[in-house]
Symmetry: D2
Subunit: 195 residues, 4 copies
């Protein structure tokens, strides 16, 4: 049995919940061949990335799948790429709001995800879940986590990636799209099965 | 046991499916105290409304709930009101595209739905389904059906209403929101339970 | 020369500006054959409607055009109809938040606008402005104002209507559409010209 | 006086116009210190990028600013980064629809734009134009052009970047946002002034 370290974030931006953690905690402990190690990350620059690396060192997983909230998106979106940029439209949970700062000084401009993102999308489509590839994880804490993990595990057997999920209905108000929690759980389950 | 006549539409506007009928046909034959009589309507001015009236005459239902597709909406939306207007941005399935024509010559400007629309929204919210009241059923075939039915059953014990549902994921493309079919079925089930 | 009473609202819902008043105040005092009488309304149930009626009594205008903000809309939308319903998703500027209350007890379910809404849309389209008919003015203060005015002037020569305008760019954040103030002014100007 | 090579694309995806070229051709020949050299590119993989490089070789510009259509966006968006990926949701104008192919075999995962994208956004905001940074130019022809140009001029004095613009009102239908052509012209003008 293989091991996947899967993470969700705590709430940020004035929200009461974060659908990424709500969904991750509802996942079963095993999906197909995969044993799930679930952890919550703080929505804080540096700390979130540090915690993933620490847990990865402790658990030695075969794969790392970080999940985050992307309010306003219409479906579940595996991220294709992480860029070497920290830039925040809102403060993180400790008030940090960097502008135009690299994640890793002197690092490459980007890393591509090493998870099978296109297969993950196909698996979710087959379940009737709104989903699609995303070519941008933004430049907030989510992107920093993905960049950091891909940077750390470059050239190793440990594969890593990120999936953004939409708001839950109670977060979305009348102007933004959302997805029921059950669908997010169902989508992540389908995606993990094909890791 | 009470009887509800529930309808969905056939596909229109170049779509291969209509989520309203896809969901209606998947509903069970009984929900709570309600026996469901399911019918498909053509997306055609005059004919859809005529068919509902005909089925209603044959079945003598306690309630009539028509369901239609509203591509671009983010959730399931019980309609509060129908207006006395036919006006089409696209042709119906027989090529009719009226502009600024009343549904019923000399009829009142509008009728309010006689279903408990606010309770229906609360019941769907309790299931975690994206939903909300809508104050406009548009001016296409859906609105005509609702206006016609409310006009016909005004002052009787037969209650009537309309619910719009979003696109399915396979219809939406990457730019529009959608909802999995399971959620539409689940939402309609919750709404029917409180009729 | 004919006289149009044109109104905009004060800011509400935590916004610093209301594009309806920002645009109305920038309009010239004359457009084509029309002399403009500009007034600001409070975003308060009862008071806004009372103020329009009062100004209309004082000014005896040929037409009344109320303008309001509809955050999240993509273009300028003349309203086709007002419904006999007060229902608020957020409190007005004095904390009122009615649910399912008629504007006029025993009044008709709706009134159609008596302004040439389709010509107004065509005039704005000819200017390249994003616009379209709207079949719902909602159930907040805007709809109450329109319903009240149409109710008051039913059967008279005074025509009345309502136009909703989108957020300004500084209000919209990154998730909602908006329109530059210049375009709103340009659109209203074109619409007034064809009243 | 400095020289900027500025490009727009021809229509694609069934559209009758491309707002990028419509706007570029309306720009004046000089803006501030900048002389504009305007060219239209075909929406075709390889050919668009080849034409920019060819024109750049002929003109030896100080800056290259490519403009493209991003239907569904709400404002004008300077692109922060180009990624080494060709992936098309729809065919280009010669029927090519690559999936998961690099722009440059063995090239770096991404390049950051060398234009002052944050100043460009500030300049457009000051004009009241809906705008914002974008962290993804997609993976269609637009991204390929930007990646190719940044790859070619890496380490040289020639700066390069890309700006995506929304649909025009006549393209958008009722479900998608758009921006009047005048605003796109005004926004690009403000952005070029601060190159």
């Amino acid at each position: 049995m293989k091991k996947v370290l899967i993470t969700g974030f705590d709430p940020f931006g004035g929200q009461a919940v974060n659908p990424s953690w709500e969904a991750v905690r509802l996942l079963p402990d095993e999906i197909g061949n995969w044993q799930l190690i679930k952890r919550q990350l703080p929505t804080v620059f540096h700390k979130a990335a540090a915690k993933v690396l620490e847990e990865a060192a402790a658990q030695n997983p075969d794969a790392i799948l970080c999940v985050g909230q992307a309010g306003g998106r219409k479906g579940i979106t595996p991220e294709v790429v992480a860029i070497n940029l920290r830039e925040a439209g809102i403060p993180d949970n400790e008030g940090q709001q960097p502008v135009n700062v690299p994640v890793v000084e002197g690092g490459p401009a980007a890393y591509f995800s090493t998870l099978p993102v296109r297969e993950m999308v196909k698996a979710m489509e087959a379940e009737g879940i709104p989903c699609g590839l995303s070519y941008s994880a933004g430049a907030f804490v989510c992107n920093e986590v993905l960049y950091t993990v891909l940077n750390r595990f470059e050239g190793t057997a440990t594969r890593a990636g990120f999936v953004h999920v939409p708001f839950l209905p109670q977060q979305a108000g009348e102007k933004l799209p959302s997805l029921p929690l059950e669908d997010i759980v169902r989508g992540l389950t389908a995606a993990i099965r094909v890791l």
